[in-house]
């Protein structure tokens, strides 16, 4: 039953609705601003520490963690020290070298496994899928020790080559997100090309790859940034003493928490962090669109 309403009642109701909506928008903005502050608080702190240039009475740079958030004096002394007194430039080049090679290998492996698993049907396919899942469940460090000894038996430990092998060799197992992407490509596209006489290799290189830009970028982005982020594997394989071979993560970690801990290096450490973070974060932000697509696809596919 519909009750007739008189005009003023409707108007007041509309007005109160408007008002509550405005209030809720204001609250939303307030919450967002507070959350933004919380999220940026530590990040800004790293930036501020990297440019903190305070000297004590003995004219020594104060590099420890201090209780004030905003620095009293700023300058680039930490960066100068980072590039002249530590091996950071070397670490940076090492990491760049490792990630440039391993991301190409890892992307190729991931995409080829994903495509085969998604679009080709052959005898042991389902078995391979199940084995891949089971292998993925073993904690990574479990095999790490063994990998260390295998590389040692091959006299490969403490080389960047070993690190490249470790980062790219396992990539074949991480095919799930890319497989989800290929699954959505309609089979009819492939079938018609096959009817026209194209080989499977042609179909993959001429038809599939050109339309797979999002997933190629997503895979490449993740495998390129992995060596910049990982310090667990790199630490085991490269060891603490061989400092000229370290990657940025290992080098910076040992700078803070190594055998000979010098608590006066925190600001130099943060300068290193800034130098690592700027290129990686820029890369991520530039590729944000593809990253979100990949994350969503991965989650939904499970």
């Amino acid at each position: 039953m519909i009750k007739p309403m008189d005009g003023t009642k409707v108007l007041t109701k509309y007005k109160s609705y408007k008002a509550s909506e405005r209030a809720s928008t204001i609250v939303s903005y307030a919450v967002l601003v507070i959350l933004t502050l919380v999220w940026l608080y530590p990040i800004l702190w790293i930036l501020l520490n990297s440019i903190r240039t305070e000297y004590n009475d003995q004219n020594q740079l104060i590099g420890i963690v201090v209780s004030h958030y905003f620095p009293y004096q700023i300058g680039f002394d930490n960066f100068i020290k980072l590039f002249t007194e530590t091996q950071f430039p070397r670490w940076f080049l090492n990491t760049l070298f490792v990630s440039s090679i391993s991301f190409i290998l890892a992307t190729l492996l991931t995409l080829s496994v994903a495509y085969v698993m998604s679009k080709l049907r052959f005898k042991l396919r389902k078995k391979f899928l199940n084995i891949a899942i089971i292998l993925g469940l073993f904690p990574g460090f479990m095999s790490m020790i063994a990998i260390y000894y295998i590389l040692k038996a091959l006299n490969l430990t403490q080389t960047l080559f070993a690190l490249i092998l470790v980062y790219s060799a396992g990539a074949g197992l991480g095919f799930y997100v890319a497989k989800g992407f290929f699954d959505i490509i309609p089979n009819s596209l492939i079938e018609s090309a096959r009817l026209d006489g194209a080989t499977n290799a042609k179909v993959f290189s001429k038809i599939i790859l050109p339309i797979s830009k999002p997933i190629i970028i997503y895979t490449a982005l993740l495998s390129f940034t992995a060596p910049w982020m990982d310090f667990i594997f790199a630490r085991v394989i490269l060891g603490e003493t061989n400092t000229q071979l370290h990657t940025v993560a290992v080098g910076l970690y040992y700078m803070m928490y190594g055998e000979r801990v010098d608590s006066n290096v925190f600001t130099i450490f943060t300068a290193g962090c800034v130098c690592v973070a700027i290129p990686i974060v820029t890369l991520f932000l530039a590729m944000q669109k593809y990253y979100i697509e990949g994350v969503t696809a991965g989650a939904v596919k499970g």
């Binding site: 530590p42 963690v65 080709l120 049907r121 904690p139 460090f141 396992g170 990686i280 969503t296 989650a299």
Partner: protein, 481 residues
């Protein structure tokens, strides 16, 4: 070949899963039987070339003028035989026939001034590698017979046996999957399967800090390391229960705080009235893009006793004395709660991004239908958006729970497992995986580390198998094709 597979059989419930085991072994036995029958049939039916191929690999191919292919098979056999007989040494440890014996004994020479100690670890490793070589050989052996028999059949049918060139060309078409998978499989076998097998075996030895490889021999000890979890007074029996329960508590809270927080944040940012969505999102993407060793180590210092956060709280009169948040916390629960809260900072942006992606994909007709039915915004949020997100992200919830059981960075970089429990390596915030890392990397207690790794695997594997087999993704893999 694009032949559609039948949908995987639907399985429901755990008992079905258990019941599948006897069926599996029965199938396995049938498979083996079938192979033997085929083997006998091929031998009886094959040409003289195929018969000789059973001893001299590749002979059948040469007999059918597939010279190159035959030679490859033959040299493979010769190479394998040489390795098995000569047993070449790498780092003073043989690989090949002798490695099988060494695999059983794990070394007999305890070492003195004249003889170096046998390296039990390398012997174990090379034993595993040798078994791997034998399996590769057997695989190639059968493929050699099959290939020769296929040439027989081709000749009988009046065809030419396939040329080497055509075999290679077929790798780009009919057998494209072999060409594509081989590099990946080699990588996986060498860097995942082999190491995993090796570490599983170590759990059955006494390879620990008292038996360093190459200095003291170690030996097989059966299941005694596993028995130590349940009895005995060592680190593993005392600390296993507490670490396991904290691992579960952590995984539960880490998963749900991030999940709920992420969804709420995504709903907030994606509200119609909110402007600059991309800017807000980017703020949070920063946390994902920042390498964790940077953000977590920064957090650790930010929260230190005389760090800026404590001094801010003291100066503004919220607390009287600095709080020890992490490694030196007075109560384990202070450190644990701090870690879970910091993990929200780390993890929520990820769920937020994922949910934002999903929100864009909610079918528009659902909203339209709701609008026609007179639903207001709140109703369509509660009855369409939220249920849709929950439905779509269930698989993610499961994988992220398992991911949190084996998550390493947050704990290791924030507290290093501390506050310490006096007398033991496992601190009160250590998870199974960080404990395992400490035991193996820092303390060289390889066997106990392996036992913990196997237990972790059993936990995650059980959870995954049960949920994965029930999930829609698995059952309806081909549904959208």
């Amino acid at each position: 070949m694009l032949i559609q597979e039948n949908n995987a059989k639907k399985r429901t419930g755990f008992h079905r899963f258990l019941a599948s085991f006897p069926k599996f072994f029965f199938k396995l036995w049938l498979g083996i039987k079938k192979r033997f029958v085929a083997f006998g049939k091929r031998f009886a039916d094959g040409s003289i070339g195929t018969k000789v191929s059973h001893i001299f690999m590749g002979f059948g191919n040469v007999y059918h003028k597939q010279i190159l292919k035959g030679l490859i098979y033959f040299f493979f056999e010769v190479g394998f035989a040489l390795i098995m007989i000569v047993s070449p040494k790498i780092n003073a440890t043989p690989i090949g026939g002798k490695a099988i014996v060494n695999f059983i004994t794990l070394g007999t020479e305890a070492g003195d001034i004249f003889n170096p100690t046998d390296n039990s670890m390398l012997m174990l490793l090379f034993g595993v590698i040798t078994f791997g070589l034998i399996s590769i050989f057997l695989f190639t052996y059968f493929s050699n017979i099959k290939s020769s028999y296929k040439a027989d059949l081709d000749v009988r049918a009046g065809l030419n046996p396939t040329s080497f060139k055509r075999d290679v060309a077929d790798l780009l078409d009919g057998r494209f999957h072999i060409a594509m998978l081989t590099p990946a499989i080699i990588g996986i076998v060498v860097f995942t399967v082999l190491p995993t097998l090796f570490m599983i075996l170590i759990a059955f030895t006494n390879f620990d800090s008292a038996h360093p490889a190459g200095q003291v021999l170690f030996d097989w000890v059966g299941f005694s390391n596993f028995a130590d979890i349940f009895s005995g007074t060592g680190e593993i029996s005392v600390r296993f229960g507490p670490v396991l329960s904290w691992t579960f508590i952590w995984a539960f809270f880490a998963t749900f705080t991030n999940y709920i927080g992420g969804i709420l944040l995504a709903l907030l940012i994606n509200k119609k009235k909110i402007k600059f969505k991309k800017v807000w999102r980017t703020v949070f993407v920063l946390t994902i893009a920042l390498p964790q060793f940077i953000s977590l180590l920064a957090m650790r210092n930010l929260l230190s006793e005389y760090g800026p956060l404590n001094s801010f709280l003291v100066n503004s009169g919220i607390i009287n004395h600095p709080i020890k948040f992490l490694a030196n916390a007075d109560s384990p629960w202070t450190a644990r709660i701090t870690i879970i809260i910091i993990n929200i900072w780390i993890g929520v942006p990820y769920t937020m991004l994922m949910t934002s992606g999903i929100l864009m994909n909610v079918p528009a007709e659902l909203y339209e239908a709701a609008q026609i039915d007179g639903a207001n915004k709140r109703q369509s949020l509660m009855h369409i958006t939220v249920p849709y997100i929950l439905f779509v992200t269930t698989p993610y919830l499961i994988t992220s729970f398992i991911g949190n059981i084996t998550s390493f960075n947050v704990i290791y970089l924030l507290s290093g497992g501390a506050p310490i429990v006096p007398g033991y390596k496992a601190g009160s915030t250590d998870l199974l995986v960080t404990w395992l890392y400490k035991l193996t990397i820092d303390e060289n207690e390889y066997n106990i580390g392996s036992v913990i790794a196997i237990m972790t695997f059993i936990i995650t594997a059980t959870a995954t198998l049960i949920t994965y087999r029930r999930s829609k993704t698995y059952k309806e893999e081909d549904a959208f094709q």
